[in-house]
């Protein structure tokens, strides 16, 4: 079973990368962009087949390593 962990900077934490992307989009003519936040996606291929267990496992991994919860939030979704 695949688990997808999306890690984003928490709202309130300055995201200079997102600001830079927003600025670049503006210079490309995309003038309707209000804000951009950049994060990362981590795909986990798990041997676990039980969705609840897979989700709990991925959340545990996110808390311990994949995200730094001081500055980042995460969400887990399951795929297949």
């Amino acid at each position: 079973m695949k688990a997808i962990v999306t890690v984003m900077l928490k709202s309130g934490v300055l995201d200079p990368q997102g600001k830079a992307i927003a600025h670049a989009l503006g210079t490309l003519g995309f003038t309707s962009v209000n804000d951009v936040r950049a994060g990362k996606i981590i795909e986990l291929d798990l041997a676990e087949t039980d969705p609840d267990k897979a989700r709990a496992m991925a959340e545990d991994m996110a808390r311990k390593l994949l995200a730094n919860t001081v500055i980042e939030s995460f969400r887990v979704s399951l795929d297949g």
């Binding site: 300055l14 200079p16 600001k19 994949l66 730094n68 001081v70 500055i71």
Partner: protein, 242 residues
């Protein structure tokens, strides 16, 4: 005090650190590979700068899970001294030994330049050879040195006197207020002092027992007249004498 330097794959400042420590103490520090767990006999554990594990995931995130880290945490718990510089500071925050995190520099640029640090207190084993309020020169070389913590944590650090060093002008003035996004140099020595955008201009912090210090700039870069300055040497002299 007897010192050891922890070496992770991708760390590249361990020999500079060893030179600085040996010059002040006369003793060669022990090099500790990250898979070792025996820190017995050491008073001071130093985590030097570099790019441990290629800065993958987040700076210091992988190193914080290395076998040696459990021993370093135990060393901290029994009141041992720890100095983390640059990547070493990032590793200490990732391991939860120091609070907060180091974000990407506000201007998104890697900063390789001199800075000035104001000593916030001189009654610790690290700063005993400086005066309180004194400013000394150091070198910064980092892409992720923008210190972040929530307001409650920042208030606690300040309230308990745990801010060790702040970015300052050479005269010791601290930039106040929010750092503008992008943090473009404004030609003002005070406003430009905090180039990475750190919260409250914080460059280094202590644990509550004042025995763990993490800082982004490199005091070990300026410990010999041949390096252009000896501004960082008092830190190593104080550690050697303690």
């Amino acid at each position: 005090m007897k010192a050891g330097i922890v070496v992770f794959p991708g760390i590249n400042r361990e020999r500079d650190m060893a030179i600085a420590l040996e010059q002040s103490s006369g003793a060669k520090p022990r090099m500790i590979w990250h898979q070792e767990t025996d820190l017995s006999g050491l008073d001071l554990v130093v985590i030097p700068g570099g790019f441990s594990f290629g800065d993958y995931l987040r700076c210091g995130a992988m190193a914080a899970q290395s076998p040696v880290m459990a021993s370093i945490r135990a060393h901290a718990d029994r009141g041992g001294y720890i100095l983390g510089v640059c990547n070493g500071f990032q590793i200490l925050t990732e391991a939860g030994i120091l609070p907060g995190a180091l974000l990407r520099n506000a201007a998104l640029r890697f900063l390789s330049m001199d800075c000035h640090l104001r000593v916030e207190r001189s009654d610790t084993v690290f700063t005993a050879r400086y005066q309180k309020g004194q400013t000394f020169r150091a070198v910064m070389a980092h892409g992720d040195g923008n210190y972040f913590a929530d307001d409650a944590t920042l208030d606690r650090l300040e309230g308990q006197g745990l801010v060790a060093l702040r970015y300052a002008s050479p005269q010791g003035n601290i930039p106040l207020g929010n750092i503008p996004l992008g943090n473009i140099p404004q030609g003002d020595v005070t406003k430009d002092a905090n180039r990475n955008g750190s919260a409250r201009s914080i460059a280094g912090i202590y644990t509550p027992n004042l025995r763990v210090l993490g800082l982004m700039p490199h005091p070990e870069d300026l410990v010999d007249p041949l390096m252009g300055s000896t501004d960082g040497k008092p830190l190593f002299d104080a550690l050697a004498a303690a």
